[in-house]
């Protein structure tokens, strides 16, 4: 799959200007990430499988 349109749009949105030299490598490695994403997206999950990553509130320090 050709990701070049996404790469251009996402890079512009983030303020990343890619040189021609960088662009070749970025396309290669983004393609690799995309192939990993296919595996990750391919596992059927349910709402019960929501990530357990939990924010931990931070209590103020109390001076002893």
């Amino acid at each position: 799959m050709d990701h070049s349109a996404y790469i251009d749009a996402a890079a512009a949105t983030l303020g990343l200007s890619l040189t021609q030299e960088q662009r070749k490598g970025v396309a290669l490695y983004f393609g690799l990430a995309a192939s990993m994403a296919v595996l990750v997206q391919g596992l059927p999950l349910t709402p019960a499988d929501e990530s357990g990553n939990v924010f931990v509130p931070v209590a103020p320090r109390v001076d002893e």
Partner: protein, 467 residues
């Protein structure tokens, strides 16, 4: 002295048979004599180390210090007071010096250990080879033409070269276990959240672990025990009591249920890796083989989480000064900055799914065995490997067998075996001993049993002094 264990050095210093000052001086001499060949160190802190050694020698509590006079060194992503924390980069040379040492450095030094330097690594911990363009490649002490592994390559190489008996490194996807395997040292990646990361440069906070390297299981367990304990400054650090493993080593593998991991962990390994696993299984008397579900997806989840977090972490520098990154990492970080959030969130969900499935396996087993790397150390500059009939990029492939395990934060000891590759019998290869969360004692006990049998060991590499 360069082959002495930390345990032996500390005993000698405690009992007055030698001094911390002498011990540190010998380490500094060994580094000076060998690091021109190995390139493990990026900074040698002779003045600081000599002062600290004098402090140990004069300390009224010296006779009770568990690491009295033991020289050690840390991957250069650990904060060292008054030095910028490089994390293998050129960019961080411009950052402010660290205000104080990392928590783990302080915990070792309070027990009498003496920091002698900072160690080479892949830039921002993103790599498995320590072929760092800014600071040079760290070469494998057992064959200087080969990689040390990474990203904690300097940490493994310094121990293998006999420069220091203990080092610290980090492991996000295999960065302790891979270099331990390729350099022939013991390495421990504890449970995610066991050791605080306070004062270390992050790579992917959801996956980053810190841990020790050593040339004996007793040293590995001792360093690990002394670094345990909660720290509120690292939100991922578990608020758990210290659970010492050292007193349990003498139990060996008795009573522990052990099995070999099949499927992915045998398919993605070359003959020498399989031979090492089979030797360990035979030594432990197990013929059980188990498979974990969806390992390739778990590895992919680790890859995506790392990409998303690592890319976001460096976004500002990627915008302002991308060409100051190491060419080995630059385009990967740029690509990672573009990874969509949906992939990262889904990867975290897959990770939790996988952790729940693997937990079921540990209901009937205590330790799982797998290769640490697919093969022995490749030559420096190797680009491709053939594994399982596939032509794969060599550097990334070094983590194929470690990534699925760190993805779910399990504790692992990598133990070194020798002579498994008939074409390069001088090279070691590591085997992962994997336990359920918080059961570092199980993998350390099995490692101690294998060491006692003579199946695994971590000899100092026969380097020519001063070459």
């Amino acid at each position: 002295m360069n082959a002495s264990s930390a345990t032996a050095i500390a005993a000698s210093v405690r009992e007055g048979r030698t001094t911390a000052t002498d011990s540190v001086q010998q380490a500094l001499q060994r580094i000076a004599a060998t690091d021109g060949q190995v390139n493990a160190f990026t900074s040698v802190l002779a003045e600081r180390a000599q002062k600290r050694a004098q402090w140990v020698d004069a300390h009224p509590r010296r006779e009770r210090m568990k690491l009295a006079g033991v020289p050690f060194a840390v991957k250069n992503l650990f904060d060292i007071a008054a030095l910028p924390t490089l994390a293998g980069s050129k960019i961080e040379r411009d950052s402010a010096p660290a205000a104080r040492d990392a928590v783990l450095v302080r915990r070792l030094e309070v027990e009498g250990a003496v920091l002698v330097g900072a160690l080479n690594m892949d830039e921002y911990a993103y790599g498995f080879s320590t072929e760092n363009t800014h600071y040079g490649a760290t070469r494998n002490p057992h064959d200087l033409t080969r990689i040390s592994g990474g990203s904690s390559g300097g940490s493994a190489a310094a121990v293998a070269a006999g420069q220091v008996p203990i080092t610290l490194g980090s492991d996000t996807n295999g960065s302790i276990r891979v270099p331990a395997s390729l350099c022939g040292t013991f390495g421990l990646k504890p449970t995610f959240g066991r050791l605080p990361r306070t004062g270390s440069y992050p790579f992917s906070a959801s996956l980053d672990h810190l841990g020790p390297f050593a040339r004996s299981v007793a040293d590995l367990a001792l360093a690990y025990d002394l670094m345990q304990g909660p720290d509120t400054q690292d939100p991922a650090c578990a608020q758990r009591d210290i659970e010492p493993a050292s007193p349990l080593l003498e139990r060996g593998a008795a009573g522990l249920r052990v099995a070999v991991l099949g499927g992915w962990f045998r398919e993605m390994a070359l003959a020498e890796a399989l031979a090492a696993v089979d030797a360990v299984a035979q030594g432990l008397g197990t013929t059980r083989l188990v498979e974990l579900p969806e390992v390739a997806r778990a590895r992919a989840a680790a890859f995506i989480v790392t990409a998303g977090e690592g890319g976001a972490l460096h976004l500002e520098d990627l915008k302002k000064r991308a060409n100051d990154f190491d060419p080995m990492t630059r385009d990967r970080f740029l690509a990672n900055a573009l990874v969509p959030a949906a992939w990262v969130v889904q990867a975290q969900r897959v990770r939790h799914w996988f952790a729940r499935r693997v937990a079921r396996v540990f209901e009937t087993l205590d330790v799982l065995i797998a290769p640490a790397t697919p093969c022995t150390a490749p030559l420096i500059g190797t680009e491709w490997l053939e594994i399982n009939g596939q032509r794969l990029p060599s550097r990334a492939s070094m983590g194929l067998l470690t990534q699925p395990i760190s993805c779910i934060g399990l504790p692992v000891v990598s133990v070194p075996l020798w002579g498994m590759n008939p074409t390069a019998p001088q090279l070691p290869i590591g085997v992962q001993l994997i336990a359920a969360p918080w059961r570092e004692d199980h993998c350390l006990r099995v490692a101690a049993a294998l060491e006692a049998m003579g199946l695994c060991s971590a000899p100092v590499a026969p380097l020519a002094a001063g070459a």
